[in-house]
Symmetry: C2
Subunit: 314 residues, 2 copies
């Protein structure tokens, strides 16, 4: 009613960063979070778009996140940047550690950023975009709250534990994936409950460990990982690498730490950066062209002549 | 009939290394392969036990593998060991590069071994055991021959692309996983065909891209990845990291290179090593104890008090 609509992503960015600042986030914390949220909206990723402003504000209102936190960047080892998020959100910690990560990857070939003591609600693809923009190959992962049972188990042990990978493609948008190792997003269960819909098969168990498609039973039971025992193995790796290895909480510990405050998960994050120029030197462009065939296999390579061959051998 | 049975793994080791040497493998190549094969037999991993001696001998008889190859180890960058397998099998290359990988991980915190120009038939867990024995956390992957279609696609592009992870557990066997990113092992399809059995649902498509449970149709079509689009994304990552990033062949290129010779895949391998002592210093033991709760969550941590909580929130 007379309000000006949002015509541009700049408008949206200003709105989001204003809202975040008014709820106690520093200019720096607010700016990078607003940038991530607008990127989600831009790409049609609703779950990490404007909607996330609410989770962020809610987390602030519960009073545990330090919206004024200034992350501290430490040169931990030749191949490791350590960033202490000081109980702020993860994104500013990532942004502050990125120059040192890039520099280390450029010297060593491979380097790690470990972020500690961060509240985390954002998608990892946003960070992978930052790495690929710098020509780096990246891999990132983090635990969350323990809502997911291991394959064959009934107790929730894992978080939704996302893993994300990025590959720069000069002249094209990067190849980036970012997926939860759980079979379904936590929020999807609640959405099914509200709509009175049953869950897909194979995504959850009830409190007695029996398969269920009832969202209410699933919430009091556990979610499952994608891909059975293989997804479960992957979720375990993510717990270990982005938990104890970097001296930070597992998903079970994050949920315990939360103690009913219902804040976003509090834990660490692990980000690997690999510099293709160090791996390949002047041969990089030729090898990168070969990689492009994977993204367009039909044009790059018709059905391989060798298919069917194995049928005739032991 | 009068032959002495094999009473010990030492007997078996001697048999396998004798056979391998008689088929043209150097003492060094034969020794490490025999060690891997006996480990497979020891652990009841039939697919990578004694049976593999045959694939190894067959590959030698086809005349493309250099059984006398001496791998060359290069100090490629502070965080990268490069090993040229010189067209030998992968395992001796790994063994030769391992001391430098360990040393680099110890200095940098994280390091990579890239193996190039290797013939590959062995499981990755054997290498992960070597890393965890040295107290290192490890991650390894490689492409193979392109028999696997991406999610939503019909042309085989990926190999069975295994990924393996290892976590040392002082006083216990390490936590190691090693799985193909394909939904089924290549050999399993052939075994189903021989037994006249149908394949499980969801593991293969026929030449027209339609789901099939007929092993013959699957061989002339393509295998699928585990876990749908997520497994497919993982297979893509493995192709990229252990292919073009290290200047070596993708699975499609490996199959083309083979040109009907029916030798084991020829490609590269990527191995990451992370040194927990560098990540955690004196705090390592405390964090490693926390990690143990993941392996015994019921004893280590009863059902988290927080479960069910999210049902009451948005």
């Amino acid at each position: 009613m007379g309000k000006k609509p949002f015509h541009t992503f700049e408008d949206l960015y200003r709105l989001v960063s204003d809202v975040l600042r008014r709820h106690g986030l520093s200019d720096d914390q607010g700016a990078i979070i607003a940038q991530a949220i607008v990127s989600g909206e831009r790409d049609g990723c609703d779950a990490h778009g404007l909607y996330r402003t609410l989770s962020c504000v809610e987390a602030m209102q519960r009073g545990q996140v330090d919206g004024q936190a200034q992350p501290e960047v430490h040169d931990h080892a030749p191949g490791i940047v350590r960033v202490d998020a000081k109980r702020g959100f993860s994104l500013l910690a990532f942004e502050r550690g990125l120059p040192m990560l890039e520099q280390k990857a450029h010297v060593q070939g491979i380097a790690v950023m470990m972020i500690n003591h961060c509240y985390h609600f954002s998608a990892l693809w946003f960070e992978l975009e930052k790495l690929t923009e710098r020509g780096l190959v990246g891999l990132a992962m983090n635990p969350s709250h323990s809502w997911v049972a291991p394959a064959g188990g009934t107790n929730p042990v894992f978080g939704t534990n996302p893993i994300a990978f990025g590959w720069p493609r000069p002249g094209s948008p990067p190849y980036i994936f970012d997926f939860a190792s759980s079979a379904i997003a936590r929020g999807e269960i609640e959405l099914h409950r509200r709509r009175g819909e049953r869950l897909p098969a194979g995504v959850a168990i009830d409190a007695r460990g029996q398969a269920t498609q009832d969202p209410v039973a699933a919430i009091s039971g556990a979610m499952l990982t994608f891909g059975g025992h293989k997804g479960s193995a992957l979720a375990t790796m993510i717990e270990l690498l982005a938990g104890p290895l970097i001296g930070d909480l597992t998903s079970a510990e994050s949920l315990d730490f939360d103690q009913g405050a219902q804040v976003v998960p509090y834990h660490g994050e692990l980000i690997l950066a690999l510099d293709p120029e160090v791996f390949l030197g002047p041969a990089k462009d030729a090898h990168w062209s070969r990689a492009e065939k994977l993204f367009d296999p039909v044009r790059g390579k018709p059905r391989p002549s060798g298919r069917g061959r194995i049928a005739r051998t032991a």
